[in-house]
């Protein structure tokens, strides 16, 4: 591997890794979850989830990537054995299936940034009609999808140092600054206190409800990128001396800090500017895109300085989405590089594939919603495969041989205990609860394999992928080249 295919500095790696973790979910999902599930009580449960699920998984992923110098497919083959290649292939494929529609979502953010720059969000504009109008024009959704994946391809094409690292070093600090500006404006609005109360004052009774814990853990799992194979892939481009534990904790805390900042920008805005408390609550319950592209687009222009805050907010959203999209595309590109392809050829192939396979999501929003429903939860299974890999390799061996030698903050035996016993229980509880709710909440239709939000559509699509990957595992094991590249 050439030295150009390595991060130039630790800060470059950290910027890319934090950018990978911070996505649209920090901005449009965390604030809703926190407000709905007990404010401060949810934040505490969310912080605990970082230690019991996300951080151990991120450390394990980074250890696998740094040891094997392979993407998820080759990584699992070399870390375990050839028969386990399908697990890595599951991880990489799920990540790519998410990439196809995430590029479309990044395109939505780009479109709204352009609208904000054009001053389209004026008082009295019907933002619901604006949103529906945009979705009903496939030409526009495809155009912005192409723009998002094309720009991402350009970054990946230029390589790690000249592309990924440079962009992350620019976008991640800018994202922090943009959110600080938006939060500073939001908390100084008259009536912002009510929103801050919803976000921070703990409703302890919510901790007695399983849903609070389960939402906190799923939010942390999805938000930090644990189990996606993203950090595993970025770890390939680090040196042998790179500190795994401290870097992963920084990624986790960075991700949570941005989520809180986004909460401070969004919830006070909603509560201060909504005409009534009922309307504020309705906005919070309107889903990710409803909250952002309809409610916030309508409310931001009402504030003094809204003309500036709107583009700042939507640019922050674009940067959050884009830095995650880069990491996702890199997982696909790395799989081809591992098979002996050059970076440039791989980047062109993966970007073209992402564009084509993202088209159904760009044309049909219900297809996008279905894919989000199916593959979002598949990440829990990817995370479980990482746990299995650590089990098989030996948790103590991972801790003492791969994590601790280069660590500033050494992990104690508790780390092995968590990854061996606590994280699997977390996986089992989260998965069982998710399927149980899917059946109980939709008793008449849960068994339909072609429904948008049914439990059976998840099982059906997972089963197809699992059968294909299990059948192809030998082929995939041969596809990845044998000798790993040497790195200092």
């Amino acid at each position: 591997m050439s030295t150009k295919d390595q991060f130039l500095s630790r800060w470059g790696f950290l910027a890319a890794a934090i950018g990978m973790a911070i996505g649209t979910g920090n901005i449009w999902r965390f604030p809703r979850m926190a407000a709905q599930y007990g404010g401060g009580a949810f934040i505490l449960a969310y912080t605990l989830a970082l230690f019991l699920w996300s951080a151990p998984l991120l450390m394990s992923e980074m250890a696998i990537g740094r040891k094997t110098r392979r993407g998820p497919i080759g990584g699992f083959r070399d870390f375990l054995d050839r028969r386990c290649t399908w697990m890595g292939a599951w991880m990489a494929t799920v990540c790519m299936l998410i990439t196809f529609y995430y590029s479309v979502v990044t395109g939505y953010c780009l479109k709204y940034f352009v609208l904000a720059m054009q001053g389209a969000f004026k008082e009295g504009v019907d933002t619901t009609a604006l949103w529906n109008d945009f979705l009903s024009k496939p030409f526009e959704t495809v155009l912005f999808h192409a723009l998002a994946i094309g720009l991402c391809g350009l970054v990946i094409y230029r390589g790690i140092q000249s592309g990924v690292e440079k962009v992350a070093k620019l976008m991640v600090p800018a994202l922090f600054i943009f959110l600080v500006v938006a939060a500073a404006r939001a908390v100084t609005l008259t009536g912002a206190g009510e929103g801050l109360r919803y976000l921070f004052v703990p409703d302890w009774s919510k901790l007695g409800q399983p849903a609070t814990w389960l939402q906190a853990f799923t939010q942390s799992a999805w938000s930090t990128g644990a189990g996606w194979g993203l950090l595993l892939t970025y770890a390939i481009y680090t040196t042998k001396k790179e500190d795994i534990s401290q870097n992963c904790l920084l990624v986790g805390f960075g991700d949570q800090s941005v989520a809180l900042l986004a909460g401070m920008a969004i919830i006070p805005t909603i509560f201060a500017l909504s005409p009534s408390l009922e309307q504020a609550n309705a906005a919070m319950a309107s889903g990710n895109t409803g909250l952002t592209f309809i409610s916030l687009a309508q409310l931001i222009p009402k504030m003094a300085g809204g003309v500036i805050i709107a583009p700042v907010f939507f640019l922050a959203l674009v940067f959050a989405a884009f830095t995650s999209l880069i990491a996702m595309v890199e997982v696909g590109v790395r799989s081809f590089i591992d098979a002996g392809w050059g970076r440039k050829k791989s980047a062109v192939a993966v970007v073209a594939g992402c564009f084509l396979l993202g088209l159904p999501s760009a044309f049909f929003p219900s297809f996008l919603e279905n894919q989000d429903w199916v593959w979002g939860v598949a990440l829990l299974l990817s995370g479980f495969f990482v746990i299995l890999a650590v089990w098989k390799y030996g948790a103590e061996k991972v801790r003492t041989e791969l994590i601790n030698p280069s660590a500033d903050i050494k992990m104690g035996r508790w780390w092995s205990f968590i990854i061996k016993f606590v994280s699997p229980v977390v996986f089992l509880v989260l998965t069982c609860w998710w399927f149980y709710r899917g059946i109980v909440d939709n008793p008449k239709n849960w068994w339909k394999p072609f429904g948008t939000f049914t439990t059976m559509t998840v099982l059906f699509q997972w089963a197809i992928l699992l059968v294909v990957l299990l059948a192809a595992t030998r082929l995939l094991a041969r596809w990845v080249k044998a000798s790993p590249p040497e790195v200092d």
Partner: protein, 37 residues
């Protein structure tokens, strides 16, 4: 008052953790790049 108390606690845990780790990392990096006598 209650809101700001809890806001401080939550931010101290999360931002505090993040800033502490950032400072620790930058100190480590600084010692790495320091020229040896």
């Amino acid at each position: 008052m209650k809101t700001y108390f809890w806001m401080t606690i939550m931010l101290a845990i999360n931002w505090g953790g993040f800033i502490y780790l950032l400072i620790r990392t930058s100190r480590r990096e600084a010692t790495k790049t320091k020229p040896k006598p």
